[in-house]
Each structure stands twice: as structure tokens, then as C-alpha cells.
Symmetry: C3
Subunit: 296 residues, 3 copies
């Protein structure tokens, strides 16, 4: 008989994310141990407590989840946790601060339902944690590294767009083509999608990235994915519930349309944590889980 | 099949109340998420996490409990939580900081077992959070707004009693009659119950409000409810276990006698939270739950 | 039907020990309430919450566990908790900060599997919390107070060893013989085990207490128990997995060899907490639980 499934929820915030807790419960976790206020120096003691209590055959029934509102702080915790593992002495972990890994995976997979991303031109508006992970996926796993798409990296100033391209190049395949675009005005943003096949809107809530009229342009993207759930829409005209609706000539996905699938991916990832003790679910593995869910 | 019942325990104190946790477990909650140290600015993120994880049909399986030792701080959190809800996007909540709502409801319902409160004279000794809620109930729900009782609001100084009356008038029906009484001495306190039908003792633990002899007065109250569980009794002669015992000519209720019923009300309220997603259980609703328990 | 088993995990550290949480879950606890950051002034409110929620017949289904990395801070909490109980109004508790009680009990019981400790000479290297509890057990419960062993109390300086002896004498039977030994060098440490029957290595991780060659001395101890799990071994030549292996003329127990039994004791103690509401499991009671496990 297997042991109760224990998930330890690490969170650098002062309060462990309720969102992450509820998803964990709904994924079949038996015991959730909330650990808010975690800093890097706390990680080793807590992870050792997870590693050194159950026998090797039961380690797969203990797992770690890393959430939090600040992606960088959470990722620092994940790095510390990985250092604790050695040989078979390890427990599975998932990282999804602010939902960025599950959201990026769901966004890319939704787009892929409508279009083959290989050899395409893709515009990413709002290149924060989610946008950066979208770039990572469409230059790697999502296109299987065969024919790489061209990615337009957009920011309010040219300098910032160039800087983002430079930073992103360090973590993506060297053949990937990243093109900086300044999108400080509505006109510049329209220009950034001109001739693109797919546009992802991944900026902060409340920012209208593409204003009315973009769908009527000469060469509007075939697919638009808007990740902003709070009105106004990030991409004007995309409805929050859209999940493949065609509007003018563009197939649209809205934040809740993508969000339902994101939740499925999140739950499936939590379940997988308990299938073996050696899983590390970060953006690529989360994407793979989502792709399997979509094809099954 | 319904989802596991998740209760999120909000507490402004540094440690989530163990009392509230145990009652939650004994009320059938499946997963308790402790959130201590909550301040007003934390509420929105935590409540959104409760609202935006499960589908509309499952929202009734997530609920919020607000406890804590400082009634005002907790009520500020409740106000923030209510602001988060819109349309059908909401979860049920219960507020019971320091047990004040369940205690006031139980106290009034115990008194009502022995006497019809309509058109009666009621003395409230100790008008803190519990006492204020007793006033609220006996001027409203408990008398169904038909014939209002006269309430004697007692405090150590006349000034404070007048101030309390003024504050209470803002939240009770305008027809209610509140009469300030100074009860700085044993004699003044005896005078405050002279001719009253009911006396509630709701002051801080360890204060003997009514000294020996009050039961032998010319016109002692017909009913006395003492909410002080720690010796000495707040109302001399009322035993802590009393639940309707007649002593001299007064029917008595002691703190544990009332407390057993208070616990039943608390548990029933927690269960009700999971019957729909739109319940807000504050003092009036808690009283209604208790009345139903008493009449069933 | 009995109520769900609630264990309240008190911890003075900023994060409740994951180790203690996992053991609790694996011991059959239904609801674990984590209370980190507990200071002495917090204890009463939390313990009252545990005592005053369930009826007398159900109090045995609520229990307290006190853990933490700093033994003295935890023991201060335990003292406060005990003060809250009166008459039948109490809940069971276990104290095991840093695992010191279960570790000391397991270490002594392992040694006893190989040798009768009565009238023997015992060397304790590293007299911190675990070492002190070993001294307590071998001068009391483990030898049933009949024939007391001679204990060599070792420290880097003579002054410190003398001071430790003085402190220990306050809490052990007056007939017990404690002999201070200075073990500032490898030679002094070898001298401290010369002619001893048993040696316990209970110093901080990473310190090699006995260097290569001690097993080849003229009068090596018959039994060696090394509680250091991190290489190098505290007692050179004892393997971490040893559980009664004979090396040269010494029967050896390593940290993991002892640790497996320590875990069994810990789990059994947690289960016992829920068999009645009046148990206080500290080092002596934990030892008694272990002895019963060993003989059953």
C-alpha cells in the first residue's frame, strides 16, 4: 500500500498561494504542508526533511511544489532544492511561480492547435516571465528544434527589446532568430505584428497592447493568444472565453479559454509528481505534459 | 461527486486559532488551509485564489473562515473579502473573531428559551464585541422588529455608556430604546438590573459584575446569562454549567452551559458554508442558524 | 466513532520541521496543524484551543508535538504547555526537538541489544542534547536504577567536562558516577575510551572523534554507537549502516542503523498520543516505548 501523498508547498511570499493549494487538493494530494516565507537558506533543512523520512520505495509519495508571486525568488529556491538531491535520494518537484510555466505551456499548445509553429514568424508582446517561457518553448520543444521560427521580441523601447534578445539568447538554441521590436506606440505595435503568423499577448493586466483595427490590417496574424483575463483585453477583439473562435481572419484564444487548459496541465503535473521520485517539472517538462494531454 | 471541502482560515494574529481549526475539522472540513498574519492588503490575492481555481459548480466546496483575537482587525479583513466577490463568482464565508458572533447568538437564544424578549427590559453588563452583538440581536432579529425591548447599556462611567449608546444607534433600528447606565460600583450595578427582565454578563474574564445578594433584591431579573467561564462568576451565584437552572427566582445560564450550544452553532455554520457558494455568515445569520437548531 | 486525530505541531523555528510533519502523517495523524514561530507567550492560547474544543471523551484525539532545531527553546514551550493542563482537562504531548529524545533512546537501546549496561563503564563523546539524554537514560531507566554504570563525560577542555558533570548531576540519580574527561586531542580521546565497555559518539556532524586505530587498542569498547550520519564517521571504522556488525572486537552501530529504529520509536510515540489524553512523552517515556518495541 502506498503512503499518503504529501506535497510541500514552498512559497517565498508571506502567505502560501491559495490558488496553488486548491489545485493541489484537487489533484489528489492527501497532505499539503504549507511553507510560506521561505528564503534560500531555509531550503536545505526543509528538503532534507522530505528526503530523509521515508524509505527509498516511498520517496515518490513525497513531493515539492514551488510557487510564489516573484518568479526569480522562487527559481532561486528551486536551485537550492536541486542541490540537495544525490543519487536515488531525491523527491520530485514542480516549479510554477505565478503560474508562469503552466500558462506559457498552455498558450503555446493552444496556438499549436491551429498552426504548425515551425518556420513561422511569431510576435511576443510583453516579455516578462510568461513571455520569456513562450520564447523558450517556441524555439525549442514546441518546434522540436527542426525548423526554428523567427521571434519578434517586443518592448516599449528598442534598448529594452535588444537587451531582452541578448538575455534570451543565452538560454535558447543558438540558431533561433530573435528580432527586437520597439512597441512604444499603437502604430509600432501594429507594425510588430505585420506579417507575423502568431501573436502572443503576455503583458501585465490592464494594458491594451493591440488597439481596435489590428484584425483589419493587410496581413493580420493567423492566430492570436491573449493571456490577459482582466478587461480591457490585451489584444482588442479577442474575447476572454475564446478557445479557437475565428474573428475576421484570426483564430483567437482568450485568457480563460487558455486558462482551463492551463489548469488541466497543472493538475496533471501534480499527479505525475507522485509517479516516481525523480521528476523535475519546469517549463519544458510542463509543456511535454500538456502536449501529451492534448494528443491523448 | 463533490470536491473536497476546503476551508481557508484567515487570522490576523501571528498564529491561526487552534480553537477555530479544531471546530473546522469536527465540522467535516476535508482540507484546512491556515493563513495566519493576514492583513488587509493580503486579502484580495488569497480570496482570488479561492475564487478562480474551481469551476462555478464546485465553488461551494471552497469557503473562508475569519477568526482572530481582535474583532476589529478581523472585520476589516471580512470587508476586504466581500469586495472581491462579483456576480456568481464568490465563495461562502463565516466571521467569528474571538467567537463573538456564535457566543452572542447562543447567549440570546438561551435567554429566549426562558422568556419572550419582546417588550422587555434587558441589561447588558460589559458592552464589548459580544455585548454589542447581543444588543444588535435583541433589537433586531431576536425580537423580529415587532415590539422592541428597552436595553440598558452599562459602562463604568456615564460618559462611556452614553458614547456606547450613540455608537450602537448607528447600526440598530432607530426605534430601539437604549438607556445608558453608569455601573462603576456594586450599588450602581445592582440599580442597573432593578426591574430588568434579563441580564447578560459579557465583561472581561475575572470581573465580578454582580456581587452576592443581587438575586435577593426586590425585582431581580427573571433570566441571567453569565458568559464568564473563569472564576469568579461574572454574575455571583450563576454556576458555570447552568443551563436553565432556577436559582432563587432567576433562571440561570452559565458560560459552559451556553458554550455547548455555541459550539453546535459554530459547527452547523461551518457545514452550511459548503451547501452553497453565496453565504455570508455574520452575527444575524449565525443567530438564524442557532434559532433553527433550537427549534428543529 | 472517534474524532479525526489532530496533531498540533509546535515549532519555535520560522518553519515547522518537514521531517516531523512527514513522520506525523506516516503515523496516522488525520489533520496536522502547523504552528511555526511559536514563542513561550503564544503557548497558552494555542493549548487552550486544543483543550477547550472537544468534549472530555474526545480529548484523546487531539495531541501536541513539540519540535525544533534548538532544544532549549522547545523545552521552554513544553514547560508552558504543561502549566495549562489541570485535572482531566489535558491533551497528550510529545517533545522531540531535533530528534534528541528518539535518537538518544534508540542509541541506548541499540547498545543494550549487545550488552547489559548495569555496572559498566560508558564513554560519551559529544555531550550536547543527545549526549545528555544518553547520560540520563544510562544512569536511570536503562539500568533500572539497580547497578549504575560509570559515565565518562568528555569535552574538549577539562573545565567544560567538569561543568557538564556538575550540570548533569542535578537531573540524574545522586549515586550515578560521572567522570570528566578532557578530549582535546586524538590521544586524549583514545584514553577516554580505554577500558570503557561502550562508547557513544554524539558530537556535531563532520567531526572525527576517534581516529583510525582505536579498534586496535589494548582494551577497545565492546560496543560502539556512532550517531553521525554525514561522512566522515564520528568513530572511524563504524559504517553508517552498521546495526550490530562486529568490527575487530567491537560491535558497531552506525547512524542509519540506529536511525531506522529511531523512526519506529517516533512513529509509535505519535500513535500512542492518541490512545489517551494524559500522556507526556519526553526522553524517559520515549525510551520506554522503544524498549517495548524491541521486546515485543
Amino acid at each position: 500500500m502506498s503512503k499518503p501523498k504529501i506535497l510541500i508547498q514552498f512559497d517565498p511570499d508571506a502567505h502560501a498561494s491559495v490558488f496553488d493549494s486548491v489545485v493541489a487538493v484537487d489533484s489528489g494530494v492527501d497532505q499539503l504542508l504549507l511553507q510560506p516565507n521561505v528564503s534560500e537558506r531555509d531550503v536545505q533543512g526543509l528538503v532534507h526533511g522530505a528526503m530523509f523520512t521515508r524509505g527509498p520505495e516511498d520517496l515518490r509519495s513525497t513531493a515539492l511544489f514551488f510557487g510564489g508571486s516573484n518568479v526569480e525568488r522562487t527559481e532561486a529556491l528551486v536551485r537550492e532544492a536541486k542541490k540537495c538531491f544525490f543519487g536515488p535520494m531525491r523527491v520530485s518537484l514542480m516549479s510554477d511561480p505565478n503560474g508562469c510555466n503552466t500558462t506559457a505551456a498552455a498558450a503555446v499548445l493552444c496556438a499549436q492547435q491551429s498552426i504548425d509553429l515551425a518556420d513561422k514568424t511569431i510576435t511576443v508582446l510583453g516579455v516578462g516571465p510568461v513571455g520569456q517561457r513562450i520564447v523558450h518553448l517556441v524555439t525549442g520543444p514546441a518546434t522540436e528544434g527542426l525548423v526554428r521560427p523567427r521571434i519578434r521580441i517586443c518592448s516599449r523601447t528598442k534598448e529594452k527589446a535588444v537587451k531582452l534578445c541578448d538575455e534570451l539568447r543565452e538560454s535558447i538554441p543558438s540558431e533561433a532568430e530573435l528580432i527586437p521590436f520597439q512597441t512604444g506606440s499603437a502604430e509600432e505595435t501594429i507594425a510588430a505584428i505585420d506579417g507575423a503568423d502568431v501573436v502572443f499577448g503576455a503583458a501585465a493586466a490592464g494594458v491594451e497592447l493591440l488597439v481596435d483595427g489590428w484584425m483589419e490590417g493587410e496581413r493580420p496574424p493567423a492566430v492570436a493568444v491573449d493571456l490577459n483575463a482582466v478587461p480591457p483585453a490585451g489584444l482588442h477583439g479577442v474575447e476572454v472565453m475564446d478557445r479557437g473562435e475565428k474573428r475576421k481572419s484570426t483564430v483567437c484564444y482568450g485568457a480563460i479559454g487558455v486558462g482551463g487548459f492551463k489548469m488541466k496541465i497543472h493538475r496533471r503535473c501534480i499527479q505525475m509528481l507522485f509517479e516516481s521520485n525523480d521528476q523535475i517539472l519546469e517549463v519544458e517538462q510542463v509543456y511535454a505534459v500538456g502536449r501529451k494531454l492534448m494528443t491523448d
